[in-house]
Amino acid sequence: MKKIFLLLTLLCVVAAGGVSLPVLAAGEHDPIFQVEFSSAPRFPIVGQEAELTFKISSMDGNPLAGQSVMIMIEKKDTAGHGHEEDGEHEDEEAPAGGHDMANMGGGEEEPPPMIHLVPDEVSPGVYAGEVTFEQGGRYIATVNVMGEEVDVVIGVRSSPVAWWFVGGLAGLVTLLAGTVAVTKTVRRTW
């Protein structure tokens, strides 16, 4: 009798461990959906309207159509810290304007307000909305569907490519090279 009792107890312990360990290993909870992000232009530019597109699907790839989607977009430049005295290495997300190199110096600008976006469903599982960013840098878009959240990183350019600057440099080089060539030809000092 005693042996049967011990055997049953052992079986219960093993069964409980077998069920709970995967649950513990999975952490708080697994996401129930995934997000594929794209934008037009590819990297939004400050001051220009950008169309942000979020393709939301379940973990097995089926589009999640007809959902109520809420997106919160906040600027978050990464501020890592180097080794601490005790040897620990921390990496933490700093709020915009916090202690990080990217926010130094001109870093007197206030962080932009959080953007709340309620996108329209343009096709099954594809949600899009227009946003105009006030500052360049790294943004985190938190996509909320059915109470669950998934983060997406968005990079925003401070300004469009300064083609006038690039062209100006090229023009300067061409002008000087041409002048030198003409000078050497006239002086016959090749």
């Binding site: 180097g82 290495h89 190199m101 990217a102 080089v173 000087l176």
Partner: protein, 477 residues
């Protein structure tokens, strides 16, 4: 023929057959430069088209986490070996020479000589400080587009200078990186020198200076037959190609030899100038400042002072940078005056003592610089591994490393490396403070009296640097 043997030389690499063939190959420098230019072009394109998030863009990460921190490391080991393959000057030189690897007959340049008042390191120091200031103000590291514009500006400057002035005037008088490369190169365990000075003395053609059908004269406007320091030598190997007597060697030698070696003659070399010494002393302040400005304490300090005075942080940072750079110059002068007082001899002017006593401080300066860069290389630098697979931040995964989160060394190890490197730099500087004055002063007691204040200065600097390294730094991205 008896082989001339110089003191402190371990091995002449030109005695190795395959090495000699490679070095004498006309296409060597072009191949290296073209390769670097190719990678540089990719970096420019990522700045132009890629993600604006610095830590995910190849342009920012490779430039500021790999190339910039590796510069002093390469100087420490290989003198100006980087200059041999520098992509910045590549298009300028090819345009100027109107050739790629072959010896051209014409040049697209006015070939003017740089004005005499500019033939020193002052302009390079100003440009280096401007670069440093721009990095902090415009966040060059964190914003890929800023890196792009900086690179294009430097390319353009190199081309413009090369179209107007002779040879590598850009490298000798304008390059902002040259301000730190030139002093650091003097500690390297490698050099390019004549093998036998008697052969050079007998040479009438001086092809290493004037060039011949096999190659160009020294592009740095030096005299390779008489070069006695690494200050200017770019390791471009043109003199090796042109020398009709095969009398140029690439030697593995004792480190720091340029600083203390015998027989050079006190102030009889033009390779050490007051402007170069000023840079060395200035670096003693700028390098720890660069460390400090990446710490939260300094960031808070700057913000509070700016708010208190009602000025922008940029103004405060500019003043702080110049002040902290000049502070060691002032302290150094004070200690020099004490030294001069202690030797009680007016044979040596303050100016000459300023120039020469700066030399022994090169090792501690480069040691702190390398130590500071361990953080960028070994902690932040792991960001280059995922970026390699997705250089533009488009979501690619070329080499299956896009999601990699790599730790090369734990944080504690970086601290140990930093402190031990600076420790080694201190020891090296101390040794040079022992050796150099023996060559400067005929009287040993005079040398000792002159050196004591400098040793005290070294101890003070070392203490300050050790303290600076213990403060945790913020990352660039």
């Amino acid at each position: 023929m008896a082989r001339y043997q110089r003191e402190g030389i371990y091995k002449d690499l030109m005695e190795i057959g395959w090495f000699k063939r490679v070095v004498k190959w006309r296409g060597l420098q072009f191949t290296l430069m073209a390769t670097m230019l190719f990678f540089f072009t990719i970096i420019l394109l990522t700045g132009l088209l890629g993600t604006p998030i610095g830590g995910s863009n190849m342009g920012s990460t490779f430039t500021w986490l790999l190339w910039w921190p590796l510069i002093p490391v390469t100087m420490l080991l290989g003198a100006k070996i980087w200059c041999l393959m520098c992509p910045w000057i590549a298009p300028a030189e090819w345009l100027q020479r109107m050739s790629l690897w072959w010896k051209g007959k014409r040049t697209l340049s006015l070939n003017l000589k740089v004005p005499k008042f500019m033939r020193n390191f002052w302009l390079m120091l100003v440009l280096f400080l401007t670069l440093h200031w721009a990095d902090a103000t415009f966040h060059l590291a964190a914003r890929p587009e800023s890196t792009l514009y900086l690179a294009l500006t430097l390319f353009t400057l190199a081309i413009l200078v090369s179209l107007v002035f002779e040879k590598r005037s850009f490298c000798r008088y304008f390059c902002p990186v040259g301000a730190i490369i030139s002093p650091y190169a003097m500690v390297a365990p490698i050099e390019l020198r004549n093998r036998d000075p008697e052969i050079c003395h007998a040479c009438k053609t001086r092809d290493c200076v004037n060039g011949n059908e096999k190659g160009y004269g020294c592009p740095m406007m030096t005299h390779p037959y008489a070069t006695d320091r690494n200050t200017y030598c770019l390791m471009c190997t043109e003199c090796i190609k042109t020398c009709p007597n095969d009398n140029i060697a690439i030697n593995i030698r004792k480190p720091f030899l340029d600083i203390y070696k015998e027989g050079v003659g006190f102030l009889k070399t033009k390779d050490v100038s007051q402007s170069l010494s000023f840079i060395i002393v200035f670096l003693l302040g700028i390098v720890p400042f660069h460390n400090l400005e990446m710490t939260p304490y300094y960031m808070d300090f700057e913000m509070n002072i700016a708010m208190g005075l009602g000025v922008s942080q940029t103004v405060i940072r500019t003043i702080a940078m110049i002040s902290i750079g000049l502070l060691p110059v002032g302290i150094y002068l004070v200690f020099l005056l004490i030294s001069k007082k202690m030797i009680g001899n007016s044979q040596y002017s303050l100016r000459s003592m300023f120039t020469w006593f700066a030399m022994p401080f090169i090792p501690i300066a480069i040691a702190l610089h390398v130590g500071h860069n361990y953080f960028h290389l070994l902690e932040e630098g792991t960001a280059v591994i995922p970026v390699l697979s997705d250089p533009f931040g488009f979501g690619w995964d070329l080499f299956r490393t896009a999601g990699a989160n790599v730790t090369i060394v734990p944080g504690n190890t970086v601290s140990i490396l930093q402190l031990s490197t600076v420790g080694f730099g201190v020891l090296a500087s101390a040794y040079l403070l022992y050796r150099l004055p023996k060559n400067m002063f005929a009287d040993g007691r005079q040398a000792l009296r002159a050196t004591v204040p400098m040793v005290l200065l070294l101890v003070g600097l070392a203490s300050f640097y050790f303290w600076v390294l213990t403060i945790p730094m913020a990352t660039r991205f």
